[in-house]
């Protein structure tokens, strides 16, 4: 047990280091962009109006002060870390003075929900089909399924999403094609709202699953075709262990070990959002926030989003590393 504790401490140290480096990279890159949030704000505020040039000068001055962009680069950097350790990313520059964190928390549940569901479905289904296809190589239905799955995989996601939208939104309009829930429905844990959320998520989830299935499918299939020639599988077959059991407990169980790592990483990736899904299906979430923030030069928000994402991915990798010994008893913690 002691060695496990030592492992945890070491692993946690690594996690801190990785997050630190990652956030620094994000900081440097965001601050290297040529976009000036003040100019963006001025451009947006004056896009349709007529404002005298003198007034613009004044505006620029006061915005610079308001957004706290006055200090030296070093002061700003220190300020960033001071805020980060208190879990605050400061006010958004393009939605001043709303805190970045409240913008993120407002969008996050949607993205997280959508991606959690679709990633899980994709993972389970992909691994199941991949495992079966790898084990029962000669099965016709599985071959056809595999072909379909592989056929969808390379189609650019945007196209798949749009096709689904056209099919289910126009040709055969059975499902809502926009938004996270019905407009003007009271939010809360009531049946109506939940049903509406589920209904609205069907098409986005479907599109994500269709495109994502291939990756897991292929990975699992090749893993399985390696595992079937392992001694313990051969031996179980010779021992007359039923096929379904071999598939489940011997083949899949062993192949799952690496796949779970992949799952952890893609779950962490939830915090990147699904930008195109959000765009096509008008689904609320982090991705749209990110694109908007980038366009508006709102580096507070971009940094906030990026940081959350870095922490989330590192954390899920950390978690999976900690749980790995449970999953694969062979793994030694040292």
């Amino acid at each position: 047990m002691k060695s496990y504790a030592a492992y945890l401490i070491r692993r946690f140290g690594q996690f801190v280091l990785v997050v630190f480096i990652g956030m620094n990279i994000a900081y440097i890159v965001t601050h290297a962009t040529p976009i000036d949030p003040v100019e963006q704000s001025i451009a947006a505020a004056t896009a349709f109006g007529s404002t005298s040039p003198e007034a613009i000068g004044l505006m620029r001055e006061s915005l610079r002060e308001l957004y706290g962009l006055k200090g030296t680069a070093w002061e700003q950097y220190i300020g960033f870390w001071k805020r980060v350790v208190t879990l605050d990313f400061g006010p958004s520059l393009s939605a001043f003075p709303t805190p970045v964190s409240s913008l993120i928390w407002r969008a996050l549940p949607w993205t997280a929900g959508l991606l959690l569901v679709s990633t899980t479905i994709t993972w389970v289904l992909g691994n199941l089909l991949g495992g079966l296809a790898g084990y029962l190589r000669d099965n016709r239905t599985l071959r056809v399924t595999g072909l379909l799955v592989m056929g969808f995989h390379p189609i650019p996601y945007y196209i798949v999403a749009l096709l689904i939208l056209i099919v289910f939104g126009y040709v055969w309009p059975v499902l809502p094609i926009t938004g996270g829930a019905q407009m003007n429905l009271a939010r809360g844990w009531n049946l109506d709202f939940v049903a509406s959320v589920v209904k609205h998520s069907v098409l986005p989830v479907l599109s994500l699953v269709l495109v994502g299935l291939g990756g897991w499918f292929m990975g699992m299939r090749s893993l399985v075709s390696n595992i079937v020639s392992e001694d313990y599988v051969v031996y179980a077959e010779l021992g007359g262990v039923p096929q379904s059991r071999i598939l489940r407990s011997y083949v899949m169980r062993n192949a799952l070990v690496p796949q779970v790592t992949g799952l952890a990483m893609s779950l962490g990736g939830i915090f990147n959002g699904a930008i195109i899904t959000e765009q096509v299906f008008g689904y609320p979430g982090i991705g749209a926030l990110l694109i908007d923030a980038v366009h508006a030069g709102d580096y507070s928000l971009v940094l906030g989003l990026t940081s959350v994402s870095i922490v989330a991915v590192s954390l899920s990798v950390l978690l999976i590393d900690m749980l790995y010994p449970l999953l694969d008893p062979r793994v030694k913690v040292s």
Binding site: K2, S3, A5, A6, Y7, V333, S334
Partner: protein, 266 residues
Amino acid sequence: MTSLLELRNVVRTYAKGGLFGRSARAVDDVSFSVGGSGPEILAIIGESGSGKTTLARMILGTVRASGGSIRFKDMDLADIKGRGQRMDFMRQVQPIFQNPFEAFNPLKRLDRYLFMTARHFAGARDDTAAEAASDAALRKVGLSLAEVKGRFPHEMSGGQLQRVAIARALIASPLLLVADEPVSMVDASLRTAIVNLFRKLRDEMGVSIIYITHDLATAYSISDRVVIMRRGVVVEAGDARATLDNPQHPYSIELKNAVLSPDTGP
């Protein structure tokens, strides 16, 4: 004349993990020497996990000793630095491993290792020279290049592989062979052949051999001296025949009694 190889109070510990660096001694205060009076075969005998392989690896320089010193031809192995010195050492000390199936890359042809060794350690400059050197070495172990060339390890049986492994080591004309259970995967007649081969190597080519084995019978038949290990510690050492004929330590006695003799029926 100084010994070819000299181990003094060699210790090797492995961390067992933990905050406070608990460690286990795989090899504990082992001293012996090889080749003090000309080429000899030294057998190291001991149960599984007694530290034989660890010892072999230390002698080969692939594992560092945690304590004590290992000197080869008056040079401390810890002082070997740089590829040049290392290559020079490897030319003189070659290993033979326990598991012939594992000794070669299953994805590569066997002859590759022979040719590489010939080029690096036997001064072969071109393919013909390398092939000649390889063939010569293979013939010493009862094979020929024609049988090996172009074949993959999985196309050979364990015995064949082990002989190829020995042939490969021989190409370098080493002074010392470290053979870690070289015959445990090999059939009796082949075992004899290999053991005879060792004897021949010692007698005719002046190669000293550290012969690690469970097999007391072959150890008895070819080795000059024997070291019996248990849990990292040398429990008994001395002249091979004398020691095995009349073991003193209880463990040595138990070991001897466990040896099956073809003469005792079921």
